[in-house]
Subunit: 328 residues, 2 copies
Amino acid sequence: LSGEFNLIYQHIAPLAGSRGDVVLGIGDDGAVIQPQLGTQVVVALDTLVAGRHFFVGQDAADIAYKALAVNLSDLAAMGATPKWALLSLALPVSCATKQWLEQFMRGWSELAQQYDVVLIGGDTTYSDTLTVSVTLMGEVVTGQAITRSGARVGDDIWLSGCIGDAGFALSQLLAAREVEANLARRLHRPTARVALGLSLTGLATAAIDVSDGLLADLGHILKASNVGAVLNLENILFSEAVSQWVDISGWENPLTSGDDYELLFSANHQNSAAIRALAQQQGVPLRRIGVVLQVEQGVKVIKNGSEQPIPTRRGFDHFASTDIIKTS
Amino acid sequence: LSGEFNLIYQHIAPLAGSRGDVVLGIGDDGAVIQPQLGTQVVVALDTLVAGRHFFVGQDAADIAYKALAVNLSDLAAMGATPKWALLSLALPVSCATKQWLEQFMRGWSELAQQYDVVLIGGDTTYSDTLTVSVTLMGEVVTGQAITRSGARVGDDIWLSGCIGDAGFALSQLLAAREVEANLARRLHRPTARVALGLSLTGLATAAIDVSDGLLADLGHILKASNVGAVLNLENILFSEAVSQWVDISGWENPLTSGDDYELLFSANHQNSAAIRALAQQQGVPLRRIGVVLQVEQGVKVIKNGSEQPIPTRRGFDHFASTDIIKTS
């Protein structure tokens, strides 16, 4: 925490929250936390940059919400309980206002309170480019973290919810077309599958959140686990809007557009009933979309019984210039 | 960790380091760490922005070194042992090169290896503005963290090393004047007082690192501890260059310029001998520069026995436009 005390104390600290495991929160050189006995600490960091991950001029509450949500999603994919957050805000002059910061903290608090995430520190600086970086820490029972490397040949591959909504919304907004509120929300205020992730410890052999695109994120699991996979397109859930998008532009779009924040995971087939029960309990669609294969078999996508060519570009890469959100 | 796998794996992961308490490092949705029993986790986050905290075009190794050093300094001020780091890199196209990243990681590794800090995760994105944000986590024996709020009336006030070198170097560079290598190093590659901070647990009642400027940082301790203070200018150590700066431009300069990363701390007078012994052992100058007073007495600076007027601007504020490093 540097010298921007007035700014931080007036607008951020009152909304930071508190909890017994926060020994020392915002306002010192560092925060002090007390993880529970028998746990390990899980940490994720995601950075959102104006004009890349959100539109310049985007509602500050949306930006804050998304910056926290994408990190919640990372912890969900690890099966961890989110607990403590740090926030790095690099603000252009136009955002260093009472109004902007209050709006930002409104979006932050809405989501942070939902999961009892306490803001324990951070840094606020000026920058020409609005950059929001969140470090989110949480806990997992020792040894229970779900990694990307545990998928085994014969495991089922599962996907929560439907994918492609955020990608479709983005494509529409980039083309200056109207987007329905519920689709825009999937882009600007994604839902992290926190409860689902927690329930998957002991059930899933590997998990990842779909942030880069389904094929890209599946690829991360396959690489880490040294396995291959086959996906059945028919089993992947699409919203009506995305179904139309698929009809017009091909199935590759929702499978390679990022920002879905659904959970993609593998599990032994004997856990199928337990996973279906989870879907019921939590009211989250869980579809068995494929099976883990030997590594030599690579990735196959099956549509109506026939294997499809895999697109070269499997997901969102912040260093591929074609993927940058251009707003000016 | 988002989709920039090639970049990160090729240039960053090989230099991340490893240690038994890193259960899962770079390459999953989150990292998993195992803090030691009987400890609390201390976390600091500091963000450096090109053109604000370092010059545009600065050597990438310097940038990395400083980004880690300022966080090491925060943990030192807490009396914590640094352990695990996360790195958020928002890079302009010009920096997203093999050369730049290798140079960056060279500076990072030089310092990280010195303190056995393991890089456990992060995020890399494009941005128009080079922004480096480091989250540094460490450990402290439960209950032993040194805060800003423990200073008591009658405590001595101590300062490590000499202050003003970085501020002087910056003033010279901004005026396009030559700067001696050792002074430039104080600005670009500050030394965090890690060993000293660790030794101060149980000795210091309060501590802070001098990042914003001595008067500003003293003010943070005084506010948090609800006390006042008197400083004796004669007891503050200046380098020869800064002594000349004081003669020409006044004592206010080194006491309000930031980036010193020395430790300012309070301690009961009965610990004086132990603190002087520390200075000997560690080869770090430790000067008793003042005394803690009742809060009503505010802050006094004494020079040659007479009280000095306190400057309005007590330190570096990233939101005061006058403080921004302008390079274009």
